[in-house]
């Protein structure tokens, strides 16, 4: 493949990298640039990248420059990340909260840099590339959390994101270095083959240690137990646009990359030596999934701060995703991918709705939800639909996404996990009702309003419409199936 051909394959990445530089230079070159201009440049680049990603979905597979892997799985989730980052960017542009334009350009740049990191995280079999993508996304997130220097919680949230995030990626890197020693290569597929051979000769510890270290890295990114504790604090301390990026783009990217890593491992191992360790691995992952779901939804019950509640809720949703992962098989991964797509769409809408909370009390207290459905009827109704999708009630896509996971878990012989998931769903219903009930009561005053909010309104309504339209679940299922097929581990 010539250099020019590779560039064509890497068009989305190239657009984003160039666009990020343009955004950074924009305010320096145009001294009188208005605050929204850098955001507009960023949105244009994301739209361009999404366009090429959409094209690339149909292009088949390629190994570009020996490091980057283009396949359906990677491209699909890159598209999901680009779209959710665009949603975060729209929220950021609509946010007139910051005095003047301080931090605006930086936020746009960091969002784009984070998306670029996520692209490389998602599109590679090479563990070094994977780590660089992981770290690129991570560094952008730490900076994004702390970028609003005038908000009092930004420092604390930034410190927590940095310390726990950097620690987890350090542990993961140590695991990668051990795997390199084990497999003699950084390519995940070759490492998988070698791992199977090592396992077959009876050395379990040599594989278990790096596996657990990698699990720790992804565990922090996806916030599952026992690595979840940073998530509620960081979510609480970050602004709504950044929360949207954290809860959707960052999480979806980490989760999809996790699927790829496990798939690479399974590909080589299923007919090889993996047989004996398969059952304990499933058991570990299932136990983590159960604990994460229960703790996340239990803790979400008593929260008074909306951001914090969303943080715990997103922990619990990560647990649901893990059900599919824990099955360690094609059908489980399909269900997990479908769940991930639906979760992303639902969460984009819910976080965007959080934008309309009254800022009178300073914090994002739940009681300021009162009357949102009266002052903004469209937002109110959409939020109810989105919450239904979060719980998994028909007629929304969330219903089938959860249903599929539970059916697969039941078929996989994890009946107890289905029970736990059911319990967690009931708890989710309780806190969703707590959110939905005050919507149509008498209104709180001082709600943000104005012409700049229509894109946010459109985002909430669009997400709700999408969730309802996808009650016809076949397209999501097809995407998930094709994406898992392109990982080729069965």
């Amino acid at each position: 493949m010539s250099a020019l051909d590779s560039l064509l394959w890497l068009m989305p990445e190239a657009i984003l990298a160039l666009g990020a530089c343009v955004v950074l230079a924009w305010d320096l070159v145009f001294k009188k640039a208005r605050p929204w201009e850098s955001g507009a440049v960023g949105l244009t680049c994301l739209a361009g990248a999404s366009f090429f990603l959409f094209q690339r979905l149909g292009w088949g597979e390629a190994d570009v420059l020996g490091m980057v892997r283009v396949d359906f799985h990677g491209t699909l989730f890159q598209l999901a990340v680009a779209l959710s980052a665009a949603a975060a960017l729209i929220l950021e542009m609509a946010d007139r909260h910051p005095p003047g334009r301080e931090g605006r350009t930086e936020t746009v740049f960091l969002l784009m840099a984070g998306v670029l990191g996520a692209f490389f995280l998602l599109g590679t079999w090479n563990l070094m590339m994977l780590y660089l993508g992981f770290e690129g996304l991570g560094l952008a997130v730490y900076a994004l959390v702390a970028v609003r220097k005038w908000e009092k919680d930004s420092a604390e949230a930034g410190v927590k994101a940095l310390v726990y995030g950097a620690l987890s990626s350090g542990l993961m890197l140590y695991g990668i270095s051990l795997l390199y020693g084990l497999g003699g290569s950084l390519d995940l597929r070759e490492i998988g083959l070698e791992t199977a051979r090592v396992l077959a000769s009876g050395h379990v510890v040599e594989v278990a240690v790096p596996f657990l270290l990698l699990l720790a890295g992804f565990g922090f990114k996806l916030a599952f137990l026992p690595f979840h504790f940073w998530a509620p604090d960081v979510y609480q301390g970050s602004s709504t646009p950044v929360l949207s990026f954290l809860a959707v783009a960052s999480k979806v990217a980490g989760a999809a990359a996790f699927l790829r890593v496990l798939a690479g491992w399974l590909a080589a191992g299923l007919d090889g030596g993996l047989g004996e360790v398969l059952a304990p691995t499933i058991w570990i992952l299932a136990a983590i999934a159960a604990a994460t779901m229960l703790l996340g939804s239990l803790a979400a019950l008593k929260q008074k701060n909306l951001h914090r509640l969303l943080g715990w809720s997103s922990v619990a949703q990560g647990g649901f995703f893990l059900i599919g992962v824990a099955l360690l098989g094609r059908y489980g991964f399909e269900a997990a991918s479908a769940y991930l797509l639906v979760y992303g769409l639902t969460m984009i809408g819910i976080v965007a709705a959080a934008f309309f909370l009254s800022r009178k009390s300073g914090g994002l207290q739940l009681r300021t939800l009162r009357g949102l459905g009266r002052t903004h009827p469209w937002v109110g109704v959409s939020l109810v639909i989105l919450l239904a999708s979060l719980v998994g009630l028909p007629p929304t896509a969330g219903f089938f996404a959860k249903w599929l996971l539970l059916v697969r878990a039941w078929e996989g012989g994890l009946g107890w996990l289905v029970m736990v998931a059911g319990l967690s769903t009931i708890l989710t219903l309780v806190y969703a009702l707590r959110l939905a009930r005050p919507l149509f009561l008498e209104s709180e005053t001082d709600r943000p309003s104005g012409s700049n909010l229509w894109p946010v309104q459109a985002l909430v309504v669009g997400a709700a419409a999408g969730v309802v339209a996808l009650f016809h679940f076949t397209p999501v299922l097809d995407l998930a199936r094709k994406s898992v097929e392109s990982l080729r581990f069965f």
Binding site: Y131, K149, A155, G158, Y174, N305, R308
Partner: protein
């Protein structure tokens, strides 16, 4: 020296880094600990590369790790500086205002 010696040193570096992060005395301590963790991995990469006799993949990986460590240290110090100017302290225990209400 054998490969095991390098691996033992790397493991010790790793443990020392984790201990520094866990000690929670000051954020600078924590940052240094994080650097040690990264350097432990870099040492592993180079050692494995040397003794596996293969290509230069491991050495390249170590170079990338050094770059990442530099980026992380720069960003980390920036955040610590911001934390100091807003709280007047860099003790991790002083960052407790976010939590269940």
């Amino acid at each position: 020296m054998s490969l095991v010696a390098y691996l033992v040193v790397a493991a010790l570096l790793m443990v020392a880094g984790l201990a520094m992060v866990a000690s929670r005395r000051s954020l600078i301590h924590v940052l240094i600990g994080l650097e040690l963790v990264l350097n432990a991995s870099a040492l592993n990469f180079v050692a494995f590369d040397r003794y596996s006799g293969g290509g230069q993949e491991g050495q390249l990986a170590a170079l990338f790790v050094i770059v990442v460590a530099a980026a992380e240290a720069a960003l980390g110090l920036a955040i610590v500086l911001h934390a100091y100017s807003s709280k007047g302290s860099i003790r991790p225990d002083d960052f407790r205002s976010l939590g269940d209400s």
